[in-house]
């Protein structure tokens, strides 16, 4: 056996074995030190890395607030849609996967690469949006490649669904991905790349309210990116639904009435500034922006000479034409100049050594005739008498040359020339001859349709001008309301004192315009419709009165109903629309629709009673008798003298029950209206005259 052959005396030296022992000890100590370094000194850092490994933040997108019209009808909705994001894991290079991703998602590889480059500097945890509104096929592709392409992540989100055919598109606006330039502005401080923001219209102004607040979910994933659970979810707070002041019926009629014409219609309630309709043509499809708009469509939109993206109701600045004569009349009457002025129109007149045309021989005219006939000669003379600065003072007083302060982005201010303006912009004295053109709304004066609607209805409302708005302010948080008001400085609500004579003369003049005057074609039987046409020459002259031609005059009309203290003002602009009477017909359609609707509504008190807000009622009553007369018998004199008619706003909650009982058939049948003292004291919240 082996053992027999070996030298038994030999042994391993203890020194060597001990040195082996020490060697092992040192090794163990080294390993222990390594563990100490990782587990004790580096624990916090590695714990963080471990969390980063397994937790992925997935955004939970907030649904954007819906938009409703004034009657609560849905205008802008959301629809569920799936977007694809790319999640960059630590150290995982996705470059090799890009061709496959591009193929599966039907993306252009170069464009995908560009998108990634674009987000190169963004923090690693932030998912990169690579395709929005993916199809079912593309979704299936992502699901099928979960293992190969764990970096692809889908997110359910709500996407904007706008009315079709560009209905109210300019007013509503559209949404899109926040741009790099926007992100650098302080206003967008809270936004992150890829966020959807309102880019125009209500969507832009009220973005802060509409967008809500995105939530997030911490998802636990394994090394393959598979979700194995989630830690906590911070729910998204949906955006606030907003009720607009728009009336879909009116908007629809206005859209149809304007047809394919290049222009704008704006309908406003001059009592409170609510915009009931706002149309700008040509329009665009905001749904194209809801996903990402493609380049060719975009180029088409921005190169179209008719400016489809421009909201012409608040951004198109043009000479007001004859509609300006209302402002001239107000100035003339207030200054005491126009009342007794008689001008002989012989097809024009000579001022400052130059002959200015009128389109007709009107003969001798007073202002009462000059307004409905829109006689240029009369207003040339008036302009000469007033001088540019007086005209400018009144015009700016009625809001021309400054923004109305409507709650829509990028409103234009227009221009109202004056000597001061001339000096400031051209460093020269004002040439008085220009005043003559200004008198008929030509020259350098530029207004937007909304400005004109506000100014003319303001004059018809006895000098009371309101700030227009498209969103009912009551539903807005107080802080946001002031913020919006601050960010849209306009001339605001204000009152320009007018003499009763001025008011009567001008409103009657405008009423005459739609019966016997320039807008007689737009006459509405049984409706107290007043207005003023305008046919503004396009600078450069040339071929006129060829509808649609490049130098055809712009056709204006501002109409209102009723003539005094109007409930509705409609301004119509047709670029190159020829005569103002063309626009008057469009306005008449809107007005007729409005009145029709109001009449149906006014007579349904029971329907109104369900609406918890003040209701307007008409009433006829006699003055309360003095206390001594109470028991006395009725006599004819007191009957004719004390009978009044009027409209009231009543609060259905507080008074309607009693009013209905007071107007019971029995009481009506007896031929008397027993109106006790509380009625007249409590009810006349707002008195308004209305002619039959």
């Amino acid at each position: 056996m082996y053992s027999d052959r070996v030298n038994r005396g030999e042994k391993l030296s203890n020194v060597k074995l001990t040195s082996v022992q020490y060697g092992i000890l040192i090794m163990m100590l080294a390993l222990g030190a390594g563990l100490w370094r990782l587990q004790v000194l580096g624990a916090d850092n590695f714990r963080m890395l471990a969390e980063q490994n397994r937790i992925r933040k997935v955004p939970v997108l907030a649904a954007r607030g819906k938009l409703f019209d004034r009657d609560g009808r849905l205008l802008v909705d959301n629809y569920p849609s799936v977007s694809c994001f790319l999640v960059r894991e630590q150290g995982h290079s996705v470059d090799a996967d890009l061709p496959l991703i591009a193929r599966g998602l039907n993306l252009d590889l170069e464009q995908l690469r560009a998108t990634l480059r674009h987000y190169r500097a963004a923090p690693g945890y932030q998912p990169i949006p690579i395709k929005q509104d993916i199809t079912a096929d593309e979704q299936a592709f992502i699901e099928a490649h979960r293992n190969e392409l764990p970096e692809l992540e889908t997110i359910d989100e709500e996407r904007r669904l706008y009315p079709r055919d560009g209905f109210a598109a300019h007013l509503i606006g559209y949404v899109g991905e926040v741009s790099e330039e926007d992100l650098n502005q302080s206003r967008y401080a809270a936004y992150e790349p890829g966020d959807v923001v309102g880019k125009a219209g209500v969507e832009e102004t009220y973005d802060e309210l509409l967008r809500g607040q995105d939530g997030s979910r911490d998802v636990i994933v394994d090394s393959h990116g598979r979700e194995v659970g989630y830690l906590r979810t911070q729910h998204a707070i949906p955006g606030q639904d907003l009720k607009l002041t728009i009336d879909i019926d009116l908007q629809r009629v206005a859209e149809l009435a304007l047809g394919d014409a290049n222009g704008a219609v704006v309908a406003m309630d001059p009592r409170n500034g609510e915009i009931l309709a706002m149309v700008s043509h040509p329009s665009y499809d905001p749904n194209a922006f809801a996903v990402r708009i493609n380049r060719t469509d975009w180029n088409q939109l921005i190169t179209n000479p008719n400016h489809p993206l421009m909201n012409k109701a608040i951004q198109d600045q043009l000479a007001p034409g004859s509609t300006f004569k209302i402002i001239m009349s107000a100035a003339g009457l207030q200054e005491g100049v126009a009342q007794d002025m008689r001008v002989n129109c012989a097809g024009g007149g000579t001022f400052y050594g130059r002959f200015f045309h009128c389109d007709r021989h009107h003969g001798v005219l007073s202002i009462q005739q000059a307004i409905p006939l829109s006689c240029d000669t009369f207003f040339y003379a008036l302009a000469q008498r007033l001088g540019i600065d007086t005209i400018a003072r009144y015009a700016t007083g009625f809001g021309l040359g400054s923004k109305t302060g409507i709650d829509l982005p990028n409103e234009m201010a227009g221009i109202m020339p004056s000597t001061q303006w001339e000096m400031k912009n051209y460093h020269q004295r004002y040439y008085p001859g220009n005043t003559i053109s200004v008198g008929i709304g030509q020259g350098e004066t530029q207004v937007t349709p909304l400005q004109l609607a506000r100014a003319l209805s303001g004059i018809a409302s006895n000098g009371h001008l309101v700030r227009p708005h498209v969103v009912e302010p009551a539903q807005l948080p107080a802080q946001f309301r002031t913020a919006v008001l601050d960010s849209f400085p306009g001339s605001g609500d204000k009152s320009v004192p007018l003499d009763p004579g001025t008011w009567m003369t001008i409103t009657d003049g405008m009423a005459a315009a739609t019966t016997t005057g320039t807008a007689a074609a737009a006459h509405l039987e049984g409706i107290d419709f007043a207005g003023k046409t305008g046919t503004a020459q396009v600078v450069g002259g040339g071929d006129t009165h060829v509808k649609g031609g490049a130098r055809t005059p712009n056709s204006w009309f501002v109409g209102m109903v009723p003539r005094r203290n109007p409930e509705l003002v409609v301004a119509v602009l047709q670029e190159h629309g020829d005569w103002g009477s063309n626009s008057a017909r469009i306005a008449a359609q809107v007005v007729a629709t409005y009145v029709d609707k109001q009449r149906k509504r006014d007579h349904n008190l029971m329907e109104q009673a369900t609406v918890n807000k003040p209701v307007e009622v008409g009433a006829v009553w006699s003055e309360p008798r003095p206390a001594g007369h109470h028991a006395g018998k009725r006599d004819e004199a007191s009957d004719d003298g004390a009978l009044h008619a009027g409209h009231f706003m009543l609060d259905p909650d507080k008074t309607l029950g009693r009013v209905l009982s007071a107007a019971s058939p029995k009481a009506l049948g007896s031929g008397q209206l027993p109106l006790p003292a509380w009625f007249t004291h409590a009810l006349p919240l707002r008195f308004r005259e209305r002619l039959p």
């Binding site: 590695f46 397994r54 994933v221």
Partner: protein, 365 residues
Amino acid sequence: MRRFLSFRDFDWGLLCMVLLLCVLSVFEIYSATMHTKYSGFHTKQIFWISGGLVAMFIFSKIDYHRLLDWAPWAYGVCLLALVAVMAVGHKALGAKRWIRIGPLTFQPSEWVKLVLILIVARYFANLGGRSLTWKDIFKAFAMVGIPMLMVLKQPDLGTTLTYMPVLVAGLFLGGISLKQALILLTTGAVLVVGVWSSGKMLKPYQKARLTSFINPDNDPRGTGYQIRQSLIAVGSGGVWGKGAAKGTQTQGDFLPIPHADFIFAAFSEEHGFIGAVFVLLLYFSILMRLIQNAQTAADLPGSLIIMGIVAVLTFQIAVNVGMVIGFMPVTGIPLPLMSYGGSSVLFTFLALGVAMNVRMRRFVN
């Protein structure tokens, strides 16, 4: 001369420590595989351990002198087996390491390790402790080097490396002089550099594995990823650990092969610094106990056998734990008694059986 044998002389203390490690191993394998396709491996591991225990008792009964007698034959069989692997081996995962006999596959390279321990012990014992000539050293190199190259060819870098400590321990304990050692080290260094730059002996992935531990970020998806995840697992365990079955790195499948090569990382994540140091202490105690057995062995070959085993175990622990904590490259060397795997468990128990064998015969003279 009749030898008196009693299981009273069996090293029960050593066995207790070994079994304690095995218990920890089974629990950690259970924890690391419970949500993976490897679930149930802990029961397999229990079978391997049971088999290993039986083999250990059997090997402790056979006199190690008889084993030394058989060693040259076994060595020959080993070489033949390795040649067979090269010729008709079963290929899996890009490497030819297994021979298939009927339904069984086995990996000769693990057995070679044990045979090398015996043959090297026998060789240096025969030299009787006299100072070594260059010829002696060359023979020893050839003895270990031939199977090493054959295994490296399979390729199996990890196993190849575990043959090294057998040779080193033999040379060191067999009486190499300082001068010879220095010359060998220098030659070795030159050779390593030569092999590295020649590009023929090592496959590119092996090179990548060997270097990525220095800077894991160079290769974040490959072995660098494994090291990085391992470091995160160990580090995030902190002092007390995340608790059994609660390691996020282990359970989330971030840690590669957490039941085998990286089981120490999984254990450290779930049981923290305290647990990891406890395991290291167990290993330390086991090694010290083995060295004590080597000291008390009846003769030189007995001591050399045990020291060969100590060398292999120490090397494996150092390389595996070093890999887990980022000190060493990823070489695929399992942690003895902890990592899942039949070959590794069997080898370790057999080696311990031989060590027991030597201890039980320490008074026989």
